[in-house]
Every structure is written in structure tokens, then in C-alpha cells.
Symmetry: D3
Subunit: 321 residues, 6 copies
Amino acid sequence: MTDSFFLPEPGDQLPRFAGVPSFMRLPHVPPGHPRFKDVQIGLVGVPWDGGTTNRPGARHGPRQVRDASTMIRRLHPVTGADPFGQTACADLGDVGPNPADVQDSLDRITAFYAELANAGIRPASVGGDHLTSLPILRALAQDGPLGLIHFDAHTDLYDSYFGGFRYTHGTPFRRAIEEGLLDPKRMVQIGIRGTGYDGEDIAFGRAAGVRIVTIEEFFDRGPDAVMAEARDIIGTGPVYGSFDIDFIDPAYAPGTGTPEIGGPSSFQAQQVIRALDGIDLVGFDLVEVSPPFDASGGTAYLAASLLFEWLCILSAAIRRT
Amino acid sequence: MTDSFFLPEPGDQLPRFAGVPSFMRLPHVPPGHPRFKDVQIGLVGVPWDGGTTNRPGARHGPRQVRDASTMIRRLHPVTGADPFGQTACADLGDVGPNPADVQDSLDRITAFYAELANAGIRPASVGGDHLTSLPILRALAQDGPLGLIHFDAHTDLYDSYFGGFRYTHGTPFRRAIEEGLLDPKRMVQIGIRGTGYDGEDIAFGRAAGVRIVTIEEFFDRGPDAVMAEARDIIGTGPVYGSFDIDFIDPAYAPGTGTPEIGGPSSFQAQQVIRALDGIDLVGFDLVEVSPPFDASGGTAYLAASLLFEWLCILSAAIRRT
Amino acid sequence: MTDSFFLPEPGDQLPRFAGVPSFMRLPHVPPGHPRFKDVQIGLVGVPWDGGTTNRPGARHGPRQVRDASTMIRRLHPVTGADPFGQTACADLGDVGPNPADVQDSLDRITAFYAELANAGIRPASVGGDHLTSLPILRALAQDGPLGLIHFDAHTDLYDSYFGGFRYTHGTPFRRAIEEGLLDPKRMVQIGIRGTGYDGEDIAFGRAAGVRIVTIEEFFDRGPDAVMAEARDIIGTGPVYGSFDIDFIDPAYAPGTGTPEIGGPSSFQAQQVIRALDGIDLVGFDLVEVSPPFDASGGTAYLAASLLFEWLCILSAAIRRT
Amino acid sequence: MTDSFFLPEPGDQLPRFAGVPSFMRLPHVPPGHPRFKDVQIGLVGVPWDGGTTNRPGARHGPRQVRDASTMIRRLHPVTGADPFGQTACADLGDVGPNPADVQDSLDRITAFYAELANAGIRPASVGGDHLTSLPILRALAQDGPLGLIHFDAHTDLYDSYFGGFRYTHGTPFRRAIEEGLLDPKRMVQIGIRGTGYDGEDIAFGRAAGVRIVTIEEFFDRGPDAVMAEARDIIGTGPVYGSFDIDFIDPAYAPGTGTPEIGGPSSFQAQQVIRALDGIDLVGFDLVEVSPPFDASGGTAYLAASLLFEWLCILSAAIRRT
Amino acid sequence: MTDSFFLPEPGDQLPRFAGVPSFMRLPHVPPGHPRFKDVQIGLVGVPWDGGTTNRPGARHGPRQVRDASTMIRRLHPVTGADPFGQTACADLGDVGPNPADVQDSLDRITAFYAELANAGIRPASVGGDHLTSLPILRALAQDGPLGLIHFDAHTDLYDSYFGGFRYTHGTPFRRAIEEGLLDPKRMVQIGIRGTGYDGEDIAFGRAAGVRIVTIEEFFDRGPDAVMAEARDIIGTGPVYGSFDIDFIDPAYAPGTGTPEIGGPSSFQAQQVIRALDGIDLVGFDLVEVSPPFDASGGTAYLAASLLFEWLCILSAAIRRT
Amino acid sequence: MTDSFFLPEPGDQLPRFAGVPSFMRLPHVPPGHPRFKDVQIGLVGVPWDGGTTNRPGARHGPRQVRDASTMIRRLHPVTGADPFGQTACADLGDVGPNPADVQDSLDRITAFYAELANAGIRPASVGGDHLTSLPILRALAQDGPLGLIHFDAHTDLYDSYFGGFRYTHGTPFRRAIEEGLLDPKRMVQIGIRGTGYDGEDIAFGRAAGVRIVTIEEFFDRGPDAVMAEARDIIGTGPVYGSFDIDFIDPAYAPGTGTPEIGGPSSFQAQQVIRALDGIDLVGFDLVEVSPPFDASGGTAYLAASLLFEWLCILSAAIRRT
């Protein structure tokens, strides 16, 4: 039965451009709030770009996505899914990073997500740069390595940067594999493209068993075939989802730090997320939205729209449990 | 025989960026002008966003489309059609809405278009928000309900808003059906997508006999098949055309009030308009261009380019009569 | 004693760019909230531009000002005032207008503010266009006409528009005088400039006893002399404050619908607000911030900074009671 | 007696954002129009940047200024002047340059203005880059050299560029002096500033008798004193006015090709133009508005506002004859 | 063996956003530099828009592309090609045009490229408008006419403009054919679209033997088939490549002077360049990037990415010799 | 005697918008270059924002300022100073920070500047955020504490952030005093304003002997009086200059991370720098230009113009030695 507390503020009572902008106009339920324990899906912002080695600004991502997300309505146009009516969703607020210290930020983020994990809340996160995924995985993978379905232009499997710096937005999944947070045999990366440094990241991934689907293969075989294979690989075990907005072509998503041309369209992005219906999604993040490079705000609106697609998958996973 | 009065100012005598910007550099022939009676296609701006419940700005649409339209040359690249040479086209100016009153605006617009209808001028309108279509249809459908070919991300078949307000940019076609201006059996809506409130709009439309083609069906079957079916449905009777710029993906058309991701490309937009050749088009509108959200002006240029495509269809319809 | 519930979230625990953006990072205490009765200053957004006859977009003002306001710290740099520590301030959320109907919106806004007035909360409002002031005054002036200190490029004393439409952003203070909400003998308008229609607005105002200070007089005599006179005119009775962002030169405040060149600087704007210390301010509004015309966001940041200045004046007025 | 044909379209019948945008919403009366002979002040666009050696785009100036100028109302706020009611003003359209050839453009422009001069129309021109002034002066100075009141950050008295190219936007007034179109003893240049090449331009000007007022002197003595001296120098003979938008600080006027920091405010710009009341102004131009560098459109609006100030001076000059 | 002098500055020693921005972070080796004679591929900027008859700004293209190009890494993602490691590439700087004179500019450019040709350096040029190609071809085709592979929305085969002006960005390839610099039988133009003046350009081209592939044919047959035919036509002789950024849809490339809707995606642009592998490319240009119309900088980044694709083709051609 | 090697590339041989953009079009002379030892003033970029706790982007400052600086010509308009002709100036390139580590960056920067100090080169630096000043001072103050002339809206004298993090852009001068790099008795801070946390920074500074001039005092006494006092305080000993672009009002300088309204104009900024003529300036930095927030590029152009003013002061100081 739907708990009306957890429903978004309806647009015919308060116009969609009005109100304090929480994610999807959901109630703001930070840890400590009396209804925190009832939340099933916790939307969390991670306003952090401390791992960014190129153009910064992802620290401003959560706020702009919140703003854009107030445009989203309740029902999925194809499946009719009603994630806010079917699952208790809430905006848990932002986890505060330390802009002046990477390690302190990693610890703060992991602590925040551990609290969610303990409360049985599945997280839907909006970054922040891609290093965000690492501290989240540290909190979520306490019972063993997870599978990963990962959409991105880059593998983020680099080893280090600048001669030994191991924590940047190019390294989270290398670290996560090393730390036993992810099972490389149940990892799929889709959309990889762009000029390379030396190919070591891809070589590492493939050696470890990660299935890497380049954009050329993606366009050649088509979203359906690629996603069918991905479903096979990730299987029925718990899976984490990670969606870098630079997966999509920069014509659709200019507001990001490290764009790569030659990417998919927004419709193809919807297709690949919808193809995940049925997996045991334990949480996901949507990262690398950088508002300062998003002249028209379209990237944030795209991110908010895809956030809804992901929420439908996560809501369905919860309802199956 | 071509009447040189009605030809656009040529770009090799006055550069395309020069001159007072009328639509397509056509002569400005407002009602009362001595040549008004000779006009066959009247281009009209409706600078109005009084029905907008979300992001405003469509009131600035006509002016920005006029500006962009001065880039358009004379001949269609595929068919060689020469609408300005083959039909007497003119910029009739803008119909002045009342920014402070919706009902007064509806009346002013209908009165203006009734004058065109009486003069036998077929209107090519640039909005303005989508409520614009209703007062135009009131003027054009005096001899009975028209068919409708409608490209849009939204059905605009909602019943009311805010508990009883019946005239917004989400309701024009519901009102038009109720008022007997449109024949729902001869209505086709293409491109429908995006999250929904409760699905009542689609249910109403389908119950009334409207053919609603979602974007998923559009991409699945392809423009050719969809348009062949649409041609069958609208048949040989008089048809009105309505093109909401948010039909197209926001990567191509960011300058609009209620974008929806996952839409067609600009080439696909050209394809669907070109597929209308041969229908008895009695007029059309192109709506929801909102310049304040169009950082680079590309939406207006897209709109101006599609305005030319529509003019070729309308010109051909006139030449067949 | 400071009630820590009402303190802004500190920037050294959660970075200023993080978190759900309420005004000044204050707690969100909508009517019905258990702490509502304890609020002394209620910050309210009025996301409405239904009275706008020129460029729209002020409906998006409150959200952008909320975003910018998270940059504001606690203490006034000159007086050391600490309004959040000295007075219970809260973000009451937005009053929802009806984008499709002016009269319904006027009624909704007055009803909302009547609730504040009844609770003894003094309102600090962020518009919205200038018609916003009228329904607020209807709620606040229940015990008799108020004085008005009004900074603006325009008098907003017009009678009607489009042949009889009496409720636009150019008419609020004419209506307020007619309705007995304002005492014209205790009204001061400062910064008036720009080309005129027919001067009837100024003639009306002066005939009624309103003190109108043109920008030429303002620059000639200087802020100190002008404000000393203004203080004399408004006297010791209850006064409402209204600040149109177009008071300031458009180089500082491009994001507004009807800019007028030749205005004051941001420092002069600070000076005139600071000169109000000691008046019996019963509430104020800050209106006409239109984000779609604010390419860099600077207008919203300016507005947020001046909102702080006004809050210090309002807080001091409360502490004197 | 006011000829209603020449009045701007009033904003309470057609909103200011509506309609085909002519300068100041005046009638469009190109040469050949039946009312051409009755025009007293002809507003002309010169969409040309063929003389620009730095950032281009001034070719788009006239159109953007036309757009912004529709915001301007009828009466001067200080003097009450009503130039459109007191003098027959019209938009004569644009003179078409040849974007591919400087000399051909110079000839086309002079020919156009000679037609105005012969018809007794005083031109109010909107550029275009500053080379625009030269061909206009060739048409206007047929009866002997004119005085010049010139506001600019640069002298535009350079001799040549790139080893011998004599016609650029840095040379018009050198050429005009050489050609006997201007009397250097009756020339005043105000606002000169910015880093220099070698100072030869200033040395030439001073040697020829031109009064050059640097920005430092302008700020030191103040607008009143400087303009009083300028009035003395230009005297009672015929004077041409030339206003480069880069006279004003780039905070106010970012949309220009060669900005120089440290300039006057918009109010000071109004002051210096208003101080010209009483001179025998035979025409003026307002140049170097470059829309591609004007992110918010504020430069064009500033230019339109100052265009009105200049029109008041020109109208008064005509009424005295 | 790789000469480390010619390697780009690596991003893990100096971040990619740091440093004086040369093309691809290559060494700056202007003519006269001691290593000039060792250069195999010379990257050259031609900051010139003197031939532009529409929106200007391409003069700023080289600098913005240099800036964006510092984001490009070393290896091609599909072929693994390492053009900077396999061929000596350098930034030769810009050839200085004369902004005030078209003919002088043509001569300066030809002289610069003749120096390259004499040194055996193959040029990779970044414009500048499309007239840039003509003076380059004059330098490169000294031993007889070249083939041409040309991607563009326009044929640039116009005869003249404004009644006789023969050197504009719409005429370079007409002139090149007339001057015997190109062999029309070995010319392929792909992507042609948009409204036309009179079709004379296409008629001329086809009569001369140029293979013109319209965008409709391109989308209908697909990139593979079109490029296979193009390869057949250009054959094994020396070929020049010319890529106008307006080949690509303006959603991907808004920063250009004469956009045409309905174009290919960025991925399709990559496909067609990659299909050129194996031709005897003697040089290429990438033109018509106009930064003032590129609100987010994405066009320059697209251009930089495609520049890398072209460099791989050129590098391979050199290695085969 | 002027060494022509060190002269900027002249604009009449290569247009100012052309060429690889070094600072002021000076030769690029990185450490190791044969002419490095002859450099007197080294222009250095520090593309780093690792200390930024608010809006990032200053890492992109040096590149955008380089681009804008190519507009600057040779001679000072008031003094006629010719710093490039009178002193050997060169662009030394950027010192590469480590975006992923603050401490490593501090060390890298100090090492780079130590090399300059050893070579007797006085540095003119472009940041970067304000933490940049600390590692520079560590290199320059090897012979004892320096004086400081500091223009800024903020004191940057905070102690720590986030409970103990001591190296942010709000703390450099606290650290520098603690480390004995600056003599607080010879420190002047001008322009301080904006809301405060707790006033501890100002209390610390005043207790230590720093002269802090608030913006209110600055406007009240005027630039001349304030700078005369500042000259007295810094005296004749060696002084470092630090100019935060947020000293200036955000209308003039929107492109910065932490703007504060109510600041000086660009002309006043020129005045205060010019008033430094005669001091023993050992180097300076110009920091906090953040291009992602600078919609029109005006902030970078302002910074480049002020960079020239500072270079004139530094050049004069060198010539006096």
C-alpha cells in the first residue's frame, strides 16, 4: 500500500518549477529523521570532484540534477511503473565531502553509506565524479564482491596517476577489484571509446575477466544484443550499477568533464537501462554531471530523466525481494 | 506566373544577416495592406505563452524564428520545390495576444485567423505555446471538423489543470475535440513519450479514436511505415498540421519549455514532414520554441528550417486545388 | 538565546555547494510544521510571473535565489549583525501560484500570507514579478495602510494595460493605494528612470503624495541625503519594503525582465538598504529576478546578498518590538 | 502636428516583444517608399564588419539593436522630449554592404547616404564597425568639413595596418580628415584609453588640432566640465556624432570587438549625450555592437537606450532649424 | 624510431588543462626553427574568415581548437595507431592572414604552404573559413591536379557572389577546378544538403564529373557503401582532404557560420574518416569552426577529436611512402 | 637596449587573434631554454584549484588569461611605460600541479619558483586559486619576511577548514605569517567585504599588525588616500603583490569562485595598481579567475589588462635596482 508520505509533491498543487528542490520532489529524510527507517530507496547527492584530473565542476552536479528532477512525473511511459507509489523513496540529502582532502572524503562517504546499508536502504546516488563509486562500494560490498553493470566512455580501470596517486576518477574500479568489492567476472563495461594513453587499463580489465564492450561493438551489434549478453554475465547475483553521463554523446550531454565524441543517443541510453529490468540491483550511481560546462542545463535534465529509469529498475528489484 | 512582389529579398543583393527580419525575408503584408487579398500563404507569429504551466518564453519564439529564417534559401534540396515562387507567401506580422489575460488572447487570435480564413489565406503559424492551436482551429474549422497530423512529445489531450483550469498548453486538442473542431478518427499523434501523470490523456485519446504513436513504436517501425499509416488515417479530407518543437530530441532543440529526452533527430523530423506531400493541408503551426532556453540559437534555426519544409507541403496543397 | 534549530547549516560541516538548497541554508518549515509557530521571519518564495507584460521568467526566481543564497555566511561585515542567531528565521517554502490564472493566484498568495500574519511571522519574500506585492499587502495591511519604501526603476503606479486589464506587474501600487493598503503620504519610490509612456503614473503618484526620487536626483544628491529624507517620510509607523532588482543597473543585474540602463551599483544598493536600520519594517519583498536572462547567475547572487541586508533590517525591527 | 504614420506601434496594442522588429517600432520606409520624402530622421542599419581587424560580429549589430529597441517607450524621462511625436522618424532598413569587398562596400554605403542627404533626411545609423563612419561622412560633408563629437576608447586615427592597408575600423577619422570631411579643429574625442601601439595616432590627432580627452581626464574633471569644453570646441556649426559602444566599460557593454577596461558607466554615457542638447547635429552613428560576444543581450539594449538619447538630440536640432 | 622531441607533452606530468596550448600539445616548430626540416606532418592554423558571407568568427577557430586538442591522448581506440609516435608531427603556428584584404591573405597563405611543400611537410590545417582551401591547394598542386575527398553540407562550387566577387567561402572548389588544382573526376563531395539558391553549383559540379553524394543518399546507402564508392573514385593518386565542420548536424556542431540541419552524427563522422585509411592523402584541412557561436565549446572539441582521426590517416599515408 | 627576442609578436604582422597564445604574445621560455637565464620577468601560470572550498575552475585560469592577453598592446596609456621593451619578459609556461594531491602540488610549485629565484627572475603569476600564493612565497622569502600588498574581498587569514585542514584558498596568508614568510607589520589588505563566519580571521590579522582596509573605508576615503597610507606601511623593503580578481565587483568579474558584491570598478582597480609605482615589488600573483563561470570571457580580459598594469610596476622596480 502506498504511503502518501513518500509521494512526490504533485505538480497540479504546486507547479513543477516551485518549491525547495529535492530529488524528484520527494520528501527530504536525512539520517535521524523519524521516517528514515521506512525508506527503501534513498536518493543521495555526492557533491564531490576531488578525484577529477581534468575539468572540474561535478561537485555542483547533485544540486543541478535536483533542480531538473522536479520536471519528472510519476509513471514510466512504457511499462507504467510507478516507483514512488510502489516503493518508499526519499531524498536523504547530500553526503558532505571534504573539498580539501581526498582520503577524508572517502571515509566520510563510506560512513554515510554504511548507515544506509545497515538500515536496509538501497542507494540511488548522484555524483560527483566517478571516484564516488569506490567509497559507496566499500559500504555496499560487505558481504562479498558485487557484479557491476557500467556505462561509460572510459574504463576507469587505470592504476595510478602522476606517478603513484591511486585515487582519482580514473581508478575507482581498479581499486574496487583489488579490494575485493567487485567480481571482475561479473563486470560489464559498455560504451568504451576515445583516444588512449597506453591501453593498460583495457588490458588489465580483460585479463581480470571484465567484459568490455567498445562503442564500435555497441553500434555494430545493437543495444538489444549487447544487453542480452550483459544480462547473462551479471547473472542473478547482486549487482551494482554505475552510469557515467559521458557514456552518452556530448551533443546530448555537454556538461561533463571529459567528454568523448561518437557516443550513443539519449534514446539508446534509455534502452540500455530498460534492458536491466529483472536484475538484482543493489544500488546505482549516476556521475560526472558538471553544471559549469552545461550552458543550457540539458545535461542535468538528461541525468534526471535517466535517474528515473534507474529508479524503476531498482524499485522492481526491491519488489521482487 | 511568379509575382515578384512576393519573392524573398535575395541574399546576393542584401546579405542574409541584413535587413528588417521578416519570416523568410518575405514582404510584410499585414491585414489592411493593399496586397493582403493576393496572399495565398500567410506566415503569422503568435508571441504568446499564456497557457504555459512550466518554463515560459515561447512568447519570444516568433521573433527569434524570423531572425533565423533569413538564413533559408529558395529551393528544396530534394524535390526542387520553390514555394515562394510557386505560391504567394507573405509575413502577415504577429497577432497581438494580451499577456495579462488568457481568454482575451484566445478571442484576439481567433478573430485574426477568421480574417485570414475569410480571405482564403492558409496560415503558417509560429508560436507561442501549444494553446495557440485552439484559437486557430476555431477560425479554420468553421465548415466542420478537420483532421490533424500532430508531432509532439506530449498528447496535449489533458482535461484540466490545477483543479479546473481548462485552457493551458496541455489541453488544446481535448478542447478542440469537444468543440467539434477536430475529428478524432482523423487525428494522428506521433512521438509521444516521457513520464506521465496518470495516463488519462492517452486513455481519452485512444477511446475517442485518436491514433497515438509512441516514440518507441516510431523508432521500432521507422518513419516510413509510421507515416504511411498516418497518411491512410488522415485521408483526403482537410487536415491541420501541428508541430511542437519538443517532438525532436532536446540535444537538437534545447530551446523549449518542456523537453523530453529520447526523441528523433532533425533528419527524421525532415523525413516525417516530407512524407506529408499530397495531403490537403489547410494550415499548420510550429510551436513551443522558447528562446530564453536556447543558448546558441540552434532551436530557432531548426524551427526555421522545418518551417520551410512545411511551407513546401502547404504550397503543394494549394497548387493542387 | 539562540535556538539552534533555526541556524543555517554551517559551511564547515557541509560545503556551501552541498545540500538541498533552502534559503540561506535555513530549516524548511512549511505551514503545518511543528516549529512553524516559533518562526519570527519567514522566507517565502513566490514563483510567479503572471503579471508580466514583457520578458517572463521571474517564476524561476525563488529557486535560483535559494541556490545562490547558500553562499551567504552568518555575520554582517559592517554592523556585525547576526540575523539568524538573533531572530528565528526559516524557509517556509513557496506559495504555489496558478500559472494559468491571475485572479486565482492573487487569492492563493493572500491566503498564504494571511496565515503568516496570523502567526505573527514577518515575511521576507522572493518573487516573482512585482504584482506579487499586491496580494502580500492585502494580507499584511489588515490593520490599516502601511508606509512603503520602494526601490525600483519603475513606479509600478500604472492604471491599466491593454485597455482595462488592471492586474499586471506595472500596477500593484496603484491598486494598493486604491484599496487602502498603502498610505501614499508615507510612500517613497527611489531610482525611477527610463523612457516613459505618457507620464500619467508619475503624475498620479505625485498628486497622491508619493515621494518619487528619480535616478538623476539620486545621483545628484547622493544615497545619504536621499535616504535621510526617505526616513523622515516613512516615519515611525509600520512600513513595507519592496525591492525590484531592476533598481540596480543591468550591468550588475542582467537577469530581469524590464531592465533600464543608468542605475546604481551594487554597493549603492547595499548603502540604501543599510540606511533603513531603525524603521519598523513589517516585511519586504525582492522581486523580478528572471534566471533565463541571467547568463552567469550573478543576478541571483546579487539578490541573495541583498536579501541578507534586508534580513538584518527586519531582524533589528523585530528585536526592537 | 504629429503625423500618426510615423509613430511607433504602441505597446498596449501589440506587446513590445511582438511584431516584426523595426528600429523603435517605427514604420519601415525604405528608399522608394511613398512616404520616404517626408522622413526627417532616418534610422539606418549598416550590417558590416569588413574593417574589423580583431573580433568580428558587428555585422550582426543592427538586427540585435532593432530587437532590443522595441523595449523603448516614447518620452524622455528627464526632458519629456517626444522625438517620434515631434519629428518624422522612420526605419529606412539596412544599407547592404558587400561582405567580400571593402571598397565596394564603401561605395554602396556612400551612395545610400547620398540619397538621404539629397532628400534632406538626417541619418541615425547603427553599425557595423567604425569604418562605417567614413562612407557616411563622404555623403554628409559635401558642403564642407563637419565638426565631430566622438565617444570612444580609441582614437581611430591610425594611419594604416599591415603595411599599407588604409581602410580598417582603426582609420576612419584619419581618412576623413585627409579627405576634408572633418575639421580637426572642431573635433573632440572623449574616453580614449587602453594600451597603445606607438602613440602615433594621438600625436597625429593633437598635431592636427583634435581635442583628445583621455579617460583619466574624463574621470578627473567629470562629465559636466568635459562636455562644457566640448560644446565650446564644436561650436554652432554642423556637427556629426559618433559613438563607439566600447566607450563604455565592458562590464556594461561586453558585446564589442575591442573592449577596453576602465570606462564610464551607462549613466555617464547618458549624461554626455544629454549634454549635447543644442548643437547642430547633422547625423550620428552608434557602432561596434557585436552580438556574438554579448551573452545576455545587454549591450544591444544599452545601445538601443542610447540610440534614443541621441535621437532626442537630433530631433531637437531639426526642430531648431 | 620515435624522436622524443616530437612527442606531445604527457598528461601525467603536466595536466591536460595546463600549459601553453599548441595543437595536440606538440612542440611549436615555426618555419625557421632548427627542427622544422624534420617535421613530417605540420599542423597549421589559418585564423581567417575573410571569405565569409554569412556569420563570421572562423578566424577564432584555430585557437579554440588548439585549446580543445590538449584533451586528446596518444592512441587510436580502434586501430591502435600512434600518429605522434610514428610520424614527426609539430605545430607550425598560424599563417597570418590580412584581415583587411582578401587577395593579400590568399597570397600570404599560399606562400606559407609553399614553404611546407618545399620542405616535404604534409599540412594538417585548421581554419578559418572554407576559402582557406584554395590558397593551400595552390601550394600543394604544383605537380598537377589532386583528387579531393570533401565532407560538407555545401558544395562550395558557386561561381560568384554579389555580382562578380569570385573569392568567398562558397567558391573555393570552383576556382580550384578552373585553376587546374583539382581533377573533378577524382572529386567526391559527401553530405550536401540544405535549401538552395538555383542549383547551378550542383549542376556545374556534376557536369564537370564531380561525384556529389547528398545527405539523403548518404543516410539511405549508409557510410560503408558511400565510402567504398568514394575510395574507388579517388583511387590511388594523391588526394587532398577537406572537412567542413558543418558536414555534421548542428546539434553536434553548433559553432559554425552556416549550419544545415539534418546532418550526420559525430560517430558517423568518425566512420567516414576511418574509411579513408589507405589513400594517398597529401594534406587536409578542417574548417568553419566559429567559436563565437559555440556556447559550450563542444564544436571545438569535436573538431579536435576529428583532427586526430585525420592525423592517423595522414600518418599512415606517410608511412606507406 | 631592447633585446628583440623578448618583444611580443606585433599585431600588424600576425593579427592579435592568431598564433599560439602565450602570455602577452611573449616568447615561450621554459626552464632549460637557452634564453632562460636572460629573463628578468617570468610570467608563469599556476593552473590549480586544489585549495578551493567553493566553486572550482581556477585551474583553467592561466589558459584563458593567456588567450585574452594577446589583445594587450605595448605602451601604458598614462605613463607611456613599455615593460616589454624595457625589461626582458617571457612566458615561462605553467608549473604543473598534481590535481589529486594538495601537498605534492605545494612542493612542485615551490620547487619551480625556487628555480626562478635562483636565476634572479621576478615572477608574475596567474593562478589558480589563492592557495597558490603560499608555495610561491616559500620560494621568494628565503632571505626573510616580505611585505605584502593584497587586494581582495577576503582576508584569506582563516586558520583551518573542516576541523583541521590547514591548506585551502582561505588560509595562505595565515600560514605565510606563521612560517615567517610575511611580515604582518608590512601587510596591507584592501577591499575586504562580504558576510563573515565569525570574524576570527580579521581579529587575527589586526592583532598581528596587518592593516585591513574594508571596502566601506575604501569607498569613503577614496583610492588615493588609501593607497598613500598603504605605501607608507609597506615602505621601501621588498614587497610581494597579490591580486584576487574578486577584489573587483562581480559585475566586472563574474568569472570567479567566491564573488562578493559591492566591490570597486575596473577603473578603480587600475588606479590602485598604478599607485604602487616606486615600491620594491619582488613578484606578484593574479588569482581566482575561473573561466567556467565567465560566460563572456570578460573576467579574463580584465585580468589580462590588470596583468599589464602590474607588469609595468614590476618592470619599473627592476629598472630601479
